[in-house]
Symmetry: C2
């Protein structure tokens, strides 16, 4: 039987792939890629094909959901197939199911890891990894209960003095990528209902845009000011800091251009 290698495309452009990932793709019998689980704004499939030296089959969400990755599994059952995925390929839960099905069919699977927005946002902000509580996605939704989930996670983490990393939803088919401003407005609307002082206009937050690109933007400020801050193009992420260590405060002031007032979070 064959094998299936999940290769992480990393962040932003095709240049974020690792040497090992590129090697695997070059020597594969069939190469697939998807770009719907995360936005890689400067990714060019044409340039990726040139790097790999062969055709890359672009898989859409519909394809994978409807035929359960049958094409990929078929290629992987008779040869060496590579499936390229943004970020670190199995962090998005979307593809875990495909990996399990491959293994159960006797197809050996392997992962070539790539840079993930999870560690990139932490690194860019200068905040400390071990001080983050659970992370959460803020979904495109009109339903208050859907936005209540991230609101409650931020509240829970704050109680424990922990930071919250918020991924912002994308709807690749409609080219919709949630901005920091939209995410804040959604959370403020829940605050308006619940009034638990979790995300108010006076709450500190950190917006991060285009992690992995040559012009990422990191800005720490009060929610009221972040609402009108120009972060530029997608993708955006958002962090709600809990209690800050001295070095984290320094990082947010120097790297996140935070006003000095943020030092109140270190008390």
């Amino acid at each position: 039987l064959g094998s299936l290698v999940f290769v992480g495309l990393g962040l932003n452009s095709e240049k974020s792939i690792s040497l090992l990932g590129l090697e695997e793709a070059r020597s594969a019998d069939a190469v697939f890629a998807e770009s719907y689980t995360s936005l890689m704004p400067e990714l060019s499939i044409a340039k990726l094909e040139k790097l790999v030296g062969k055709h890359v089959n672009v898989v859409r969400r519909r394809d994978l959901e409807e035929d359960s990755g049958r094409k990929i599994l078929a290629a992987a059952s008779k040869g060496r197939a590579v499936f390229m995925v943004p970020g670190d390929p199995l962090v998005a839960t979307t593809h875990v199911d495909l990996r399990i099905r491959a293994e159960r069919q006797g197809i050996a699977t392997q992962i070539v890891h790539g840079a993930s927005v999870v560690s990139a946002v932490i690194g860019l902000s200068g905040l400390q990894n071990y001080k983050f509580g659970r992370s959460v996605t803020i979904p495109f939704s009109d339903s208050e209960s859907a936005i209540s989930t991230p609101y409650n996670v931020i509240a829970e983490n704050k109680k424990l003095d922990l930071h919250t990393l918020c991924f912002l939803d994308i709807r690749e088919e409609e080219k919709l990528y949630m901005t920091v401003r939209e995410a804040l407005n959604l959370l403020l609307s829940v605050e308006g209902e619940k009034r638990q002082q979790v995300v108010t206009r006076e709450t500190w937050a950190v917006g991060v845009a285009r992690a992995g690109s040559e012009n990422p933007r990191v800005k720490a400020d009060l929610v009221s000011r972040l609402q009108s801050f120009d972060f530029g193009g997608a993708p955006h992420s958002l962090v709600f800091p809990g209690k800050l260590h001295f070095m984290e405060t320094e990082a947010l002031v120097t790297l996140g251009k935070a006003p000095e007032g943020i030092k109140e979070l270190a008390k």
Copy 2:
């Protein structure tokens, strides 16, 4: 003034670097690297130098701590310096201070992200990213209070039904890399004192060895059985799962060779 680019080396070997990271190193005026914050078992500095096409200055912990990175900052103040770091370069808090000092001296800094053990372990285990609580390091230490910290974090996360990712300590200078077995023994010794039923011989855990290599090992089982399981060479990591989603249980059974009994965590 010059610039300082932090380039992630990723996991396991020099082949985990991204195309962009390699490009940056090739065009830099000076290249530095450290390999003491994480173990990359198959990293060869000679092969890395061949890839980069120039001398790579290997920096030891002592160098960076004693002279506060003066050599790197000197090179970065008069040209383009690259500093290569295992994993995603600013996730380990060690180098955030260097980045802040560079920025304050007017040196522009940039990050080329790399694959991190944080996302790799999550992906390898098949567990879901948003169900992890805060992560923690289990330190080499004889002091019960030092081991109490990770013990308490595991307990806290469990109460919230969340998973805990445990990084295992390394002492690069002494070539000491904590194994899953050693980590479990340390936690069991705290359990013996505290008796809070957080890590007993009947607790479920997941060991992950050599993330990013061609032969990673993932094994989910009871602590008593993991204590005698052969994970092979370092580096090792450890996860204590909280409540499991159906798909996570499937992943631990198929990818982590867990016995069926692990399904009790899904209830």
